[in-house]
């Protein structure tokens, strides 16, 4: 229900316009993300089954913005034609339409016995000048027009991120180990326990069980594998071993994260023997499924000759 009051005209329209533009911006962003065939951004923030919801809400927002623009234009043009009679007419018309309908925060009953000011909807489109002469009008508006621009700034944040193509894979990968919660601070936590020789597979399996994680955490272990620097952070790399469960066809690589205090520049693929303190850290994936991964806080590292059999079973 458009309320045009001559003394508040411009601020009302600005409000409406801002609302439309921002809603359309969100709609366009959602639509763009969802229509991307590779879903580059969406894959980083949402599980695939929810991608459709973003598409739908993008469409809805754009449709709503379009409809509202049209009706707003219509009322503007209509108002231009007949000033005063239209004004009162709209109000009374509005009164009849809305009596008995759901509570509408934009109701104005000017000229009626009492004004019902339902400002709980934080409607800023009504200039406060309208409220004089209303009884039953609650004073103490906690929603002043001054807060209006701030709201728009807040809303611009996610739009700004989208425009800057954030989050994106480059940023994600570069911080993969770190961005997903792996703590790379220098201090290892908890008491240090004894040394143990580590089995790659065993360590990997242990990460699924709370009891086992506790049993391993704090021990200093040694692990052999090939270095892989995919993290983009010179202090963090992974140790990779290939594991065969049945035959060459199903070889998978398992990895353990190594966190060093100094950058490590050993080239990729080199076989190394790493000693470090074991801990497990929680790694997040988009959409609330996450898991624990084994991490070694490196104490020393040395290159070794490639073992005769690179596989583990």
């Amino acid at each position: 229900m458009a309320h045009e009051h001559s003394h508040s005209g411009s601020s009302f329209y600005i409000e409406q316009l801002a609302t439309i533009v921002l809603s359309a911006a969100f709609g366009a962003a959602g639509l763009a993300m969802a229509l991307d065939p590779e879903k580059k951004m969406l894959n980083l923030i949402l599980v695939p089954k929810l991608h459709i919801t973003v598409l739908l809400c993008g469409i809805c927002l754009l449709v709503l913005a379009a409809v509202r623009t049209v009706t707003l234009l219509m009322t503007v043009l209509g108002r231009r034609q007949a000033h005063h009679p239209e004004h009162a007419h709209e109000h009374h018309h509005h009164e009849l339409v809305t009596v008995g309908t759901a509570a509408h925060a934009h109701e104005h009953h000017e000229g009626e016995i009492c004004c019902h000011h339902d400002h709980e909807h934080e409607t800023h489109e009504h200039a406060h000048a309208d409220e004089t002469g209303c009884c039953g009008h609650e004073d103490g508006h906690s929603h002043s027009h001054a807060s209006a621009p701030l709201r728009y700034v807040v809303l611009l944040l996610p739009i700004a991120f989208f425009m800057m193509n954030l989050p994106n894979k480059a940023m994600w990968l570069a911080q993969a180990a770190d961005a997903t919660g792996i703590d790379v601070s220098d201090t290892a936590k908890g008491p240090s326990k004894g040394e143990m020789q580590l089995d790659f597979k065993e360590l990997d399996q242990a990460s699924y069980s709370g009891l086992k994680r506790e049993a391993y955490t704090g021990h200093v272990g040694r692990l052999t594998g090939q270095i892989s620097h995919t993290m983009g952070n010179p202090k963090v790399f992974t140790l990779v071993r290939s594991r065969m469960t049945c035959c060459a066809a199903d070889v998978i690589s398992i990895q353990v994260f190594i966190v060093a205090t100094q950058p490590v520049s050993i080239p990729d693929g080199t076989w190394v023997d790493v000693g470090g303190r074991i801990e497990f850290q929680y790694q997040e994936k988009p959409g609330s499924q996450g898991s624990y991964v084994p991490v070694l806080r490196m104490t020393d590292i040395k290159t070794i000759d490639a073992p005769a059999n690179p596989y583990i079973y």
């Binding site: 229900m1 409406q16 609302t19 439309i20 969100f26 993300m33 980083l44 923030i45 949402l46 919801t53 973003v54 739908l56 809400c57 927002l61 709503l64 509202r68 009706t71 707003l72 219509m74 009322t75 007419h89 009374h92 018309h93 009849l96 309908t101 759901a102 509570a103 934009h106 009953h109 000229g111 016995i113 009492c114 019902h116 000011h117 339902d118 909807h121 409607t123 039953g136 009008h137 609650e138 906690s142 709201r151 807040v154 809303l155 954030l166 989050p167 940023m171 911080q175 770190d178 961005a179 919660g181 703590d183 699924y208 952070n233 202090k235 929680y282 959409g287 609330s288 499924q289 898991s291």
Partner: protein, 352 residues
Amino acid sequence: MESQLEILVPQFIQRFTGILWEALPFIVLGAIIAGILEELLPQQLVAKVMPRSRLLGIAIGGLLGLLFPMCECGIIPVMRRLLRKGVPLSSCVAYLLAGPIINVVVMLSTYVAFLGMDADAAGQASHQFGGTLMVGLRMGFGYLVALGTALIVEWQYRKHGTALLAPAAVADTKAADLASAQQQVQETTAGGTAIAAPPVQAMRPSVMQRLGNISQVALHDFIDITVYLVLGAILAAVIRLAFTHQQMESWSQQNAPLAILTMMGLAIIMCLCSEADAFVAASFKPFIPAAKLGFLVLGPMLDFKLYMMYTRVFRPRLIWTIIISVAVQVFIYSLLVHYAWNTYIQYKFGTP
């Protein structure tokens, strides 16, 4: 360390964006429904249908959200309408408190937000509430809290009557009677030319006008709610940066009552719409599930924004009655759920 920022900022952006876009579709859905309800639904119907018995009225009031799905922000004007139409105060309070929780959009968003939380990547049980469990508990306890509070309000009402209501709300009731009487007069007069007021329009608004109204309300609500979502998502993402997963998990397990109170406090601060708050709660994954439940039941009933709105309709006595009743109940129920859940886990999985 200079690289800390390099790590934290992308982490923040990713978490923040994730929470936001998970929740946004549900806000849009809720906003559209709000627009449709405002434009098309007659509330006189409700007043006529309400039963005589106060108790039954309260029980039904708590379930009205299923018919009129409203976010907590929009529910106060609706509640005031019902009050004006003669629905008893206690039933209105039941609707006020339970409406934002017991409605289809919120059930859906809660379910989606917690889907899969009960298992981790390896398929093992994670000792968290999954989608169905969280929905069931949230609705159930939301209803209980609303009923309990409404009963207390009814008792207070019998003692104090309309002294519980702010002057505006009381005047509303009287004005509504007057306005409807006036309208009756106008409708019985021959339609057409005006008496003193502008001509009586018996015609309905056009489809275009209806659509325009719906979109205006929907967009307005969308913007309103999303502002708070952005703020809440920022806060949640920052908190998650500050503490590691393990820290949060162990702390909340060891200090269950404190963890529950913390999440309840966050719920009050964050002023989130109930359509979206499940996603923010779910982002605190390592916390004990009972604390998240507390967040989800208290949030739609009490926060700073709601408090402001309450002051317009209720007098301090009633406001504080509601606040205390709600907060105490939520805390106690969440604590009970926590101990019950821990016992269940111990029984099913051995020591956690």
